[in-house]
Symmetry: D2
Subunit: 488 residues, 4 copies
């Protein structure tokens, strides 16, 4: 019924967060709130979404759909099938399965019926020993229904000899390596967990005095009018039942390493991470960039939309006027069904257009959040020069992305990453721009509030995509031949 | 099969342009170019779109679809049904028909088979004597297929005794009052016309040395890589055939009155109108506003997205830092099918969220493009105060909208327009903000490049929505009881 | 959204009635009754259907859909859009337009707004001078919206100088040549007309004491529980208003020539035509066939489903046992969307299967209703012989079909009709069967109740498809070069 | 997108077979053959269908769809996703899950990845100890994905310690009670199994000299041109690999008890069961009925379509003429999406109409295959009397259905079965007919070829629905309180 969608024809050349999770308990029609929360988290995953709810009489119900939350989970006819005061949901970007497109069976939450009752889980992150666990579980007679690494968790829970679901989940998660921020539910409990490093975010909110909310980001609390209470801490499990929140510490303590790229790109600018405004951090990155890499120019223009806060900061620090030199078409969606050849070849021009009258004859600083393969950067440079710009200077709000992420972000293989084989100068030549500068790793840390920059002895964040310093060994990938960075 | 869409549940409280038109001749698969052009003009009409093409062997073909261009006219299977080197298209916002939703039969281009061959037309604007013409035509035996005012034109053409389509069109348009920018086609000709006042835009472009393009705006030339040649002049008809452009002047000459609201809001910021960058005009409006209506504040924030250029200008002129205090959710579409009660009540929060960490405790200047009914403005003020702003000052990039438009823009009835019954002070109290200021009409004219402001004796633009000075008497509406502004 | 359907891949090699019409007045929610009536008339047209209704407050409403009545006009959400006590409808088989598939714009009823009010018409039959009328109307400024011959009628009505719709319709129909059974409506009137020859059927029914019904066949009265009142007579127009039926005779009287093929194949066996049960006539054809063309055999088997009554008659008259030697798959629809190559090549085997255990070693008489191109007959013969039949004898319940129909039946061009170029013996050899016999034209007339057979001086029926004796000159076709049968 | 379908609004009051299975190996694009086979088996299950295929390079692929085979598995775009020389498929009638409608996750084939490779299974029948097995498997950590009893088999296979799939399947099936005809596949093997009683059919066919086919019925061999080889025997497992068929006997031998209702109603008349033509058996039932229950009458009419062969037999034995007194509308589908109130209330009149001209004044024998709840029988009696029949005599081609089936047929609860609480006379009064007679159980056995009738000491068939004599104790149902027939 549903044609196979083509991948983004203009390959937006960004890293993509793989998931957002959201859960609500203690309010009527919890699934409606989950739908709104997922809508606010849509930037974390646009391919598919799912919601599971529980109602005392209707039991567990679930709906999983390809496409945007707003196109599916806003319909009364669907939401009526998800009654009850407890619900969790998930939005998903891409698949770990074959063929490059999400299939419905890979869409979370996953549900399992256990001896003492059922549970549903929604997982943001990535299990780095999922292949090994999967082989082991299949050998013991488990039947997998998806290609998702996250399904291991529910099978490990099913085989736990514990009676209570939170205890089963602890059993399961102690076997799991990698990054996980999980929202789960039983008939009566809403559960949130973060891995010991706290790689992915997860926050707790309060709704109307009676309800509790778990969310990947604070921006999704805002949409339902929930108050931000606190972050779930790295290594913490909270179990919410009967309006009470109990906190557990099932894992051996470790020094947290929150993903620094959440600050740079993944999270929404109106979210608060680690007590800091994401927008403010990005603006501060622009300020740092202007200090580290000044240039004489007439205009500072963001590459829409993610470069905007850093461009504002760069303009404010440098005094060069800020301007919208590139305009985004608001009517783009994610994919095209059976597109014409022409659409397939259009690339970024379907989405972006240069403000020609503004750019002509000007020296332009373009601020972007990252350079991954560089393909889009080249097209943007062409468009800006075609429009008559005198000079084009790229300023990038993150250090060179030289290593893949194995903790829940969709990255190309290492050899596709421009920075894995080129120096900054080589990249500048490759992109054909007048200058190209990335923020330094220390500058980035400073912008996140670490006045001293990165503590190399014990880094404050996971920055593996920049540094190659992986806080959890990606064992499945190493088994497949991935070479870790040689010790220095 | 197709559920009836609900109107924008959060009523975005904007005026809406009713149409965009586009045509291409002289290139293979012209319809593909038209599809791209319409995608770039989608902001002028989001409800539906249509394309007609002509091919020597396949004849005329047409496709009309509800929804976005990108969801329909990007598909190879559809575009293959529209072959040939000549094509025109149309995007449509709303209907003049009953029931408030566009029906497929109202979607343009309209096609008519005449004695000497067929023609298709796509019309941007509004015929102000359409009711009278319709009655006359029905009386003579014409059968109307739509509720659209534009259909009169094709019936008038069918009844013309001229043999050539351009001559039939001139016959027809001489009977028509109101605003029209028309792109039309026969088997061999691409035709463009603007009404004598030139209320709506229409430009001519050149494609690849062999093709010609007609477009509502220049931004749609950019997407297909066409060069901007010139504007079609008010009262001009161009007939393009065999690669040649012939210019005709079928109407009695009048002083042009181009719609000033195209500068303020309708057109895309990357378009060029009357030789001026739309973006630059909007930034200049912000500069004028800062001069006319200064205020002590900590931040200047645009109401996304249309307030952005004026907010940049306001910040630059006032020295108050520019910031993204309100964040737009990029995953909103236009309508919801059978939405839940909660979605229906969410209003603007589905689309916008306040950047709480940034706003808290700050005096905020919010720059918006217009206030129509004021409903959205109230919700935004509530959101911003909820987020802890110390003061909220609205600055509006257009004068008070006190009169409906009858020339192709969807406006509420006069009594729904806040400015029709309230002074600026009363509106400020109604909206509950610390201050509210609109740009003056003269300030707006200055920002569009008229250094002396408005020439009241002979205004340079149509500004009827602000001034009540209608350059064409809206005769159908007057017949229905609409009261024109008393002469002063 | 809607892929272009392929024609019946197994080309069922039948003649197809092009339309069924139905109208109801004087009952609440008349459109619901029309939907049921059209469902009962679905055999007369399977490609598309439409309904127009009128309600005092909602005015005229219409819905036209591709596909079966039961898939569209059973839905509450659609039927709610068709309120009121007066409604007419139409089912359609094929198109007179280009490309071989019906387009939505060709689906009736057609609607026209006239000076004194609107009217909708649904037409069964075919206008034989439609091309000439169309040229004339276009020359006078009418704009056609469809490729349908029937649209001429509504344009002629629009141009009539009469004030009342029935008078306009009489004006129009006096210009029209060919076959028409029409159901039409205004805001208050339900109108039925048959052409002077009465080629197509139309009957009047009474519903619940207060309502009136017009229908192509009586079987559609049964489904809504309406009583059969009488046939509309050839050349009669009935106008039903305020519960009263007025009869008019707008045409010069002629001797009726009702289509004899309605008895043989088009009409449903549970309908009554001209006072005779269609089933009984078909059974009588079988009896005649058994007398005219006896054969020694073991079994008489119908070719499902239309051969069944004649096979029963043949068995009863001959004493050879009746048996279901060929089984029809009940899950076949009309067309396939983008079928696999294999489906395309399957032919009749997708629909029919031989009852092998029954047939093996037997001498089988296969009774079918007609042979058109012979393609299906050959496949059936192959299947039956493959299953081990000892002998295969075809008996055909109609005379050889040697001439195309121009009065509302979809027939191949003359050179595609097997009987146009072959004698019975040649056809027998071509089909490869042990014997082949058609009923004689006189035999067929006898079975319809004409004890003396055909009155060649003044035939009782239109039998042009068998005799080449066209009661109305098909002037458009003759102008295109069609050769009438030479006078004998 | 997909509204929840309503159950048959006119409740056709039949028992429904729950499934058909089909598998092909050794030919290119095996899935295309499976699609055709499933189309021929559509009468065994109309709600949904699924196909799994295996290709050396593409691995396992599957597609499962709601609706008819012909609407889904005929499309090239879908079938291209199912490559390879090995494929199995399944059509499904109803669900064992909650809510009365099949959900996609309940649609077979089910697939499991095991340590030594994957397998897919398609199951016709019903596991009578599925609840107990499910509890046991969940206790051991298996996660179920559907509400289907059949899923137990794949979990039992996953937990088997055997290495080869056929051995795992034997392990699994030895734990299973009830009826099963299974078609399964691995990467290289096509497997067929029947339970020891052989309750459901399964046959072996040969295709083109190189391929092998497994099918529920022989009619599905015919459609792909496969030759019937033999039935899979009760208790037999065949493993087809590299073109060789190996036969195994994994179960303790038992006397077979093939379902007698397959002869009466479920199977298609063109299939061969146990060496006998189904059509011929049904005709023989009519002959037996005419002997057991003669009546003076004018016409013998089948209740379409399943009563037809028995009516032919009754007519032939009694000498009363056979006639089509009730006509079936060929354009009925299975369900309606959100039907109008009127459609919901139409009942059988949407599907059947009485041939009024034929029936009036006649004494009619109506031959139907079974009486379940009697609801349809009452409506048919009303229709026939309304049409003016003088007398109505029901003759039923099966004994009274007094007990539910637990072996793969959808039956109402016992208290809904008319025959569970009424004698033949009481039923006659309840239905309001002039006479009502069922064939005797011995008469039915005789018609199936058992000249001596039923061997009560060791019945030749499963006839539990008539006799209450259950060959396998339905243990799950007994645990839920179902009372078996007291020993006599």
């Amino acid at each position: 019924m549903r044609a196979r969608p083509f991948a983004h024809p203009f390959d937006d050349d960004k890293l993509h967060e793989e998931c957002g999770v959201f859960g609500v308990s203690g309010v009527a029609d919890a699934a409606n709130f989950v739908a709104l929360g997922l809508h606010a988290l849509q930037h974390r995953g646009q391919e598919a979404g799912g919601i599971v709810s529980h109602d005392a009489t209707a039991g567990f119900n679930s709906a999983r759909r390809m496409g945007y939350v707003r196109d599916n989970f806003t319909k009364a006819s669907l939401m009526e099938t998800l009654p009850g005061p407890l619900a969790i949901g998930h939005v998903r970007y891409s698949t770990t399965g074959a063929k490059g497109t999400t299939q419905l069976r890979d869409v979370q939450p996953f549900f399992g019926e256990f001896s003492m009752g059922g549970a549903a889980i929604a997982h943001n992150g990535n299990i780095t020993n999922a292949d090994a666990l999967r082989r082991e579980l299949i050998g013991a007679g488990s039947i997998f229904q998806s290609a998702s690494d996250s399904e291991c968790i529910i099978h490990l829970m099913a085989r736990s000899l514990q009676r209570k679901v939170p205890d089963r989940m602890q059993d399961a998660l102690r076997r799991v390596e990698g990054a996980f921020s999980i929202v789960a539910m039983t008939r009566t409990k809403l559960i949130g967990v973060r891995d010991p490093l706290g790689v992915r975010p997860l926050v707790l909110g309060r709704l109307d005095g009676c309800g509790w909310v778990l969310s990947s980001e604070t921006c999704a609390l805002d949409i339902i009018g929930a108050a931000f209470v606190r972050e779930i801490e790295p290594g913490e499990m909270v179990v919410i039942e009967n309006g009470e929140v109990a906190s557990h510490r099932p894992f051996a303590p470790q020094k947290p390493r929150f993903c620094i790229f959440e600050h740079v790109y993944f999270s929404r600018p109106d979210s608060i991470l680690g007590g800091r405004s994401v927008y403010e951090t990005r603006r501060a990155i622009g300020v740092e960039l202007a200090r580290e890499a000044p240039v004489e120019a007439d205009l500072v223009c963001p590459v829409p939309d993610s470069g905007t806060p850093a461009a504002i900061g760069y303009s404010q620090e440098s005094g060069i006027p800020y301007a919208m030199g590139i305009i985004r078409n608001q009517y783009m969606g994610r994919t095209f069904i059976e597109p014409t050849e022409q659409i397939r070849n259009m690339g970024v021009r379907l989405k972006l257009n240069v403000n020609r009258a503004l750019i002509r004859g000007k020296r332009v600083v373009l601020v972007d959040d990252s350079v991954v393969r560089g393909t889009t950067s080249i097209k943007i440079r062409e468009m800006v020069l075609d429009a008559g710009a005198a000079e084009v200077h790229f300023r990038i709000a993150s250090p060179p992305t030289a290593w893949p992420c194995f903790y829940g972000v969709d990255t190309p293989d290492r050899d596709k990453l421009l920075a894995s084989s080129m120096s900054e100068e080589e990249m500048c030549a490759h992109l054909g721009v007048d200058s190209l500068r990335f923020i330094s790793l220390n500058g980035l840390y400073r912008a996140t509030g670490e006045a001293q920059g990165r503590n190399n002895a014990s880094p404050q964040h996971c920055d593996a995509c920049f540094s190659g310093d992986y806080p959890v060994i990606p064992s499945d990938r190493v088994a497949q031949g991935f070479c870790l960075k040689a010790a220095e």
